[in-house]
């Protein structure tokens, strides 16, 4: 085991976990929180859009806007969790600026949607601003942000730079500048991109990586390739050949039923290798592969399996990788 403080899991203070819909980025974010807590970190898990079920998955109550301990790891760290709803971030923001009564009444009279519509990207910025405050106050050793899903991750992270086109002065601009500074400092904030070893998710992850590195200026952590089938080199042989090499005689019925799974398995493993090679060599980033769990419904136990898999040595991209 590596020195915990040196481990890449602990290489930044805010880790934003992002991925297109359906790749399991929320689950990976939760597994990451557990893995870092096992390494001794006091981890704060922040769910941006309050997806249900994340608190129980981590062993605690459903998340809300109160910072609560979800799980203590004996002799190590702990996982806390909370959500950051945009309206609360707004209230906290007003509080922080000391603008109090008048502005708060204005805010509630006008309602956040109105102000947000007038100031595009404001909701996202306020949430990022709140995360920035937590980071500055060292609210935890590691803050893991379960970013909004699907196509919303990039706009979320771009809100700081995007807002400055429209807003030329005032506290919102200051907030945007400060958030932008955090996003561009790898010691403070990095992004973890999650994808699947399949063609479309890999293509989308490559686009997302280029967008985050380019426009947003975020440093990227190792790529997480989720839901990989375990390596089974024996599947490259037919069941009959495999039986011969183990000096076993297979009945015709056993051959047929093993063949009914092995053709599919061989194809999936081939595609998986191709896609992992493709994303590794295109982005030139180290990778970690997580096993596909043989269940459609995850439990605390499964999360532990994923957390274990996050701390194994990284897979370096192929030699022909661009630098």
């Amino acid at each position: 085991m590596t020195d915990p403080a040196e481990h890449w899991l602990r290489s930044t203070r805010v880790a934003v976990v992002v991925g297109k819909g359906g790749v399991g980025s929320s689950t990976v974010a939760a597994a990451y929180a557990l893995a870092a807590a096992r390494e001794g970190a006091d981890v704060l898990f922040v769910a941006v859009d309050g997806r249900p079920g994340m608190g129980p998955l981590l062993g605690g109550r459903e998340l809300d806007q109160n910072d609560r301990i979800l799980r203590r790891i004996k002799g190590a760290g702990q996982v806390r969790g909370r959500t950051i709803p945009a309206d609360q971030a707004f209230g906290d923001y007003l509080e922080l600026r000391g603008v109090g009564g008048m502005l708060r009444r204005a805010a509630s009279a006008a309602s956040l949607p109105m102000i947000a519509a007038a100031t595009p990207g404001l909701e996202h910025l306020l949430v990022l601003g709140k995360i920035k405050e937590l980071e500055r106050d060292r609210a935890a050793d590691l803050i893991i942000v379960d970013a909004p899903p699907a196509g919303h991750a990039a706009p979320f992270l771009r809100s700081a730079s995007g807002l400055s086109d429209v807003v030329q002065s005032g506290p919102v601009r200051d907030q945007a500048v400060e958030v932008d500074a955090m996003l561009r400092d790898p010691a403070r904030c990095q992004a973890m991109i999650v994808t699947l070893p399949e063609e479309t998710p890999v293509t989308e992850a490559i686009e997302l990586a280029n967008e985050l590195r380019g426009d947003v200026g975020l440093a990227l952590m190792p790529l997480v390739i989720n839901a990989c089938w375990p390596e089974r080199p024996g599947l490259t042989k037919t069941p009959a050949m495999a039986a011969r090499s183990q000096k076993v005689t297979l009945s015709a019925s056993a051959k047929a039923s093993l063949a009914s799974s092995s053709v599919f398995g061989r194809q999936r493993l081939e595609r998986q290798h191709q896609q992992i090679d493709r994303i590794g060599s295109t982005l030139g980033l180290p990778m970690v592969t997580l096993p596909r769990l043989p269940t459609p419904r995850l439990t605390l136990h499964h999360l532990g399996v994923l957390a274990d898999a996050l701390v194994v040595p990284l897979v370096e991209p192929n030699a022909e990788a661009s630098t």
Partner: protein, 378 residues
């Protein structure tokens, strides 16, 4: 293969929808093949002799290629999909067209339609606040998917319009988008700002002036000017927007329209699909059925005798085959348990199950294969 149009039987087919509906909306969580399903329904309808247009939102690259769509705004206009077997002949009447939704340019088109003249339209289109929010206003993309559907439906050019929706964790957003826009326009602050004063300094309503004060305080004076100007110019088109939102709301609940929910067998996706089905039923939206995509194949079981013979094979290539067989079987079994939940929930509507394919659909032939399964019954 024979199919039935009797919707009370869970026929596992969308044959009646593709041959008689005028609008189909596909919805569901992200990453389940929703856009592919929308395209395959379009293929099925074109092959049934209808003139169909499929509106996609952010299609995967390979699927966009299959439909002949280029990434970029140029795809916002319908584009004929070629190479469909059975409909590129002289006697065939079916046609498949596709386009990629561009929320910002749909909003622009709406502004042009709803304004009296070019000058009024430009006042809105050139406003910095409008430019910034037209693509990102909360619910704008969902609303624009519906708006585009309405434009295409009322143009009279199409037998069937199929609209894919943005993946939404709270997929109900889509259905509420028109109401949300109306809610926005009815807001007292908005109303005050849009009742004709020439300068915001004259705004006397307390809530509105506080709103302006708050925006100025937070974001600086320039944005206040732009915001007020934007709300003012939007006021010109508000009656039109309001009327349109009402029409769309009625259209989506009419006999012409129907909704198809797409899911995968993963528990999170199924949870979202359940929620969506409930929302469709509560909102009295016509609901055609469920497509469950990406299902793992079920291996043929090993006989007890074969299993006993393989009990002590140790390590090696055959052990890989055996453990893989068991793992795939476990996964396939648990997926089918999840599916049963959704099938129960679907009650009397169609449920079509589609297998996980070895390769993503990347050409028209792949869509034809899916289309056959969607209308063939199984």
């Amino acid at each position: 293969m024979t199919t039935t149009e009797n919707s009370s039987a869970p026929a596992g087919s969308f044959v009646s929808e593709v041959s008689s509906a005028s609008l189909i909306v596909t919805c569901g969580p992200g990453g389940v093949g929703k856009t592919t399903t929308a395209a395959a329904l379009g293929v099925a309808a074109a092959r049934a002799g209808r003139r169909v247009v499929v509106v996609t939102v952010d299609p995967a690259r390979r699927l966009a290629d299959a439909l002949g769509l280029d990434a970029g705004a140029a795809s916002d206009a319908p584009h004929r999909v070629t190479g469909l077997p059975g409909i590129d002949t002289d006697e065939a009447t079916g046609e498949l067209w596709a386009l990629m939704l561009d929320a910002a340019s749909t909003f622009d088109r709406l502004v042009h339609e709803q304004t009296a003249n070019q000058k009024q339209a430009e006042a809105i289109l050139e406003n910095p606040v409008y430019r910034a929010i037209s693509g990102s206003l909360s619910g704008a993309q969902e609303y624009m998917a519906i708006e585009r559907l309405h434009q295409l439906y009322t143009s009279g050019e199409w037998d069937l319009v199929i609209v894919d929706t943005p993946p939404s964790r709270h997929a109900i957003d889509l259905l509420e988008a028109p109401d949300r826009l109306i809610g926005f326009l009815s807001h007292p602050v908005y109303r005050t700002l849009t009742v004709g004063q020439r300068a915001f300094a004259k705004v006397t309503n307390a809530a509105a002036s506080m709103f302006l004060w708050a925006v100025r305080r937070l974001a600086g004076p320039q944005i206040v000017e732009d915001t007020v100007e934007f709300f003012r110019s939007l006021a010109n088109i508000e009656p039109g927007l309001r009327k349109r939102a009402g029409e769309v709301s009625v259209l989506l609940r009419s006999d012409a329209a129907t909704f198809v929910v797409v899911s995968s067998p993963r528990a999170e996706a199924i949870g979202e699909a359940e929620h969506l089905i409930g929302a469709l039923r509560d909102g009295d939206f016509p609901f055609a059925g469920v497509v469950i995509n990406l299902i793992h194949p079920m291996p043929d079981p090993l006989t007890p005798a074969d299993r006993a013979a393989l009990a002590d094979i140790g390590e090696g290539p055959l052990a890989d085959h055996l453990s893989w067989h068991d793992e795939l079987t476990d996964l396939a079994v648990s997926e089918r348990e999840e599916l049963a939940v959704l099938a129960d929930l679907a009650e009397d509507v169609s449920v079509v199950e589609l297998p996980l394919l070895a390769v993503d659909v990347h050409d028209v032939a792949g869509l034809v294969g899916l289309a056959d399964q969607l209308v063939g019954g199984n």
